[in-house]
Subunit: 361 residues, 2 copies
């Protein structure tokens, strides 16, 4: 039972019903096209939320660090992909983990494969991360010389098995609307499919894998892909709503924060809830830089965003909310107001340590 | 002894020599003018770094949350100010802490004093937070009706003692250069002094207190103030350097991060070190948005910022560094590069949980 009185400081509310529905919707879509969904767990980093995925049929997961991989391995997950360029300084950790679970990693260079080949004593599967245009990390999709040199260098080790190609299509975060997302998403799928065709005869079973929530959320058809690895969709957030990946009523987390001050002359509420709770991520809506959207909280659930209200600034512990007259008058010092986060992965990462987490069933 | 080999993942290096020098410089300035320095400990949140302050004569500290206050109370600090609008939902915590240490809090409204007056059984000193123009929180400096109503409401409790007026002069963060900082700083001092004059006859011993690192760093003369409460100066950071509060060689922390990928066509290095390590705070330098400045790390110490290099983007775990040809050629996958953080308070808050901290003596 939800107890509003127990909230005395910033508390992240997780709506189990919304999250399970988000999990099931993506799983159903993947199943429909025979695509393996290997959800990214960096968004929640929670053993309990992980169980909700297991209940929907998840048996392989993605994480972004070896420490997350170790955490989930201890929680019974035995097929984990670390979706981050393999860090050769952590070779011993990679090798130890690979002795316990099915471990998959990302490799981008022949130097990395050469180093790993020399130290691994346990089998590891690797994907070559491919850059189809995002320009964060990855081998350019048409750099066949580099791809060949990575594979050739890895082949010197009996413990490095080539699994396929992966792309994080981060460009989908820079556009809005289904059409723009799909243009990027389809371009990436075409490039990945071309790579699979090129290498399939020599490496039968080579897989293509793709990871962003916007593309996986709006695509009606996933056929041709072997795997998808979105993560943010379990919670979604304001950014995803602005992009067009979800509706506000699909956002599964809200920060419950006490009002600590009111400034009537500028219609602002100050909350105990700042950059160490929400993160400093911002998004632009109608030309305004926004750090979160206020909602009413009732019985642990929350409303749609309050019209005309937003967080205009965050300090370390303060959030400054621009609100309407009507909202200003409704909130007294000591009341709890909710905030939909701009970037739920970052908020979750912070709230694990700087606040409380409350799952609302 | 510093062991570079022990760094396998993002590690925050703290240079004890630089930090102690920063601590001593500010203490010497405060002592010169008979001003009490009550340093803000939110920047480091560390018992060990706290000891360096104690070694320089600190006996009263400032924090930004009751959980930080409890942490430092457990570490032997017995005079703690919580520099955040008192949150009436935490009244029980305030009261319990006030039973153990000398506790000072901030109050901005008569509702808050009325509530606290009704529940406190232990003595608490309070400052009225004053807004001299920053417009984050605080009673407008000329709103004497509100100031009077806060004091009058508090006076109903024998446990609430009026201590004085406090201002966080956050506007100094929006300017650059000594002259611009001093214009804001002096304006605030004048307004606080006027308040002290007005209330001193009725409340003898009423103090004026001021809290920002830029103002306290560049001011040559602190006379007339009773207290200063800067915190960031123990570490400083890129933002403070851009503002003009410090030189690069006074920055006391750097993130040591492994290089995990190199992209020669765009002269970029990718590090294991992202938003969950540095925070997403950015600063503008020469029109570029910058998330950190690369430095060479040798024996646990670091160079000045590498000319022409900066972090252009942060993901959750990735940092993307634009570098020069010369720097690109010097760094191989697996090497450690240093990053001066944009905002050291936020970086420190994250690194307590998402990485390792290494004090270099």
């Amino acid at each position: 039972m939800f107890d509003a009185g127990s909230i005395i400081a910033p508390t992240l509310l997780i709506d189990e019903t919304i999250c399970r529905s988000n999990i099931e919707r993506m799983q159903a879509k993947a199943d429909r096209f025979g695509v393996q969904l290997i959800p990214h767990f960096k968004t929640h980093q929670s053993a309990e939320v992980g169980q909700w995925f297991r209940d929907s049929g998840t048996n392989a997961i993605t994480v972004s660090s070896l420490s997350m991989a170790s955490f989930f391995a201890e929680n019974g997950w035995d097929d984990i992909t670390v979706a981050f360029p393999a860090n050769i300084r952590e070779s011993d950790t990679i090798n130890a983990l690979a002795g316990k679970i099915r471990l998959r990693i990302f490799i981008l260079s022949a130097e990395t494969t050469a180093h790993l080949a020399s130290v691994l004593t346990n089998p590891v599967e690797y994907y070559i991360e491919i850059d189809t245009g995002y320009q964060r990390t990855g081998v350019p999709h048409d750099d066949h010389a580099l791809i060949a040199s990575v594979i050739s260098s890895a082949s010197r080790s009996g413990n490095l098995k080539f699994a396929g190609f992966y792309t994080h299509d981060g460009n989908t975060y820079d556009v809005t609307g289904r059409e723009a997302i799909m243009r990027i998403h389809n371009g990436t799928r075409t490039k990945l499919a071309a790579l699979r065709n090129r290498y399939a005869s020599e490496y039968p079973g080579v897989r293509i894998s793709l990871g962003d929530t916007p593309g996986c959320s709006v695509a009606d058809d996933l056929s041709g892909l072997d795997e998808i690895r979105p993560g943010n969709y379990v919670y979604y957030d304001v950014t995803q709503t602005v992009i067009g990946s979800c509706q506000y009523n699909q956002i599964g987390v809200a920060l419950a924060a006490p009002v600590v001050a009111r400034h009537e002359n500028r219609l602002e509420l100050v909350i105990y809830g700042g950059g160490v709770h929400l993160s400093k991520d911002s998004v632009s809506i109608n030309g305004k830089t926004i750090y979160g959207l206020p909602v009413d909280v009732r019985n642990g659930r929350w409303s749609e965003p309050l019209d005309g209200c937003h967080i205009r600034k965050l300090s370390q512990e303060h959030g400054i909310l621009k609100v309407t007259r009507e909202v200003f008058d409704r909130y007294a010092v000591g009341d709890i107001i909710g905030i939909l986060p701009v970037h739920s992965c970052m908020t979750m990462d912070l709230m694990r340590f700087n606040g409380k987490i409350m799952i609302v069933t």
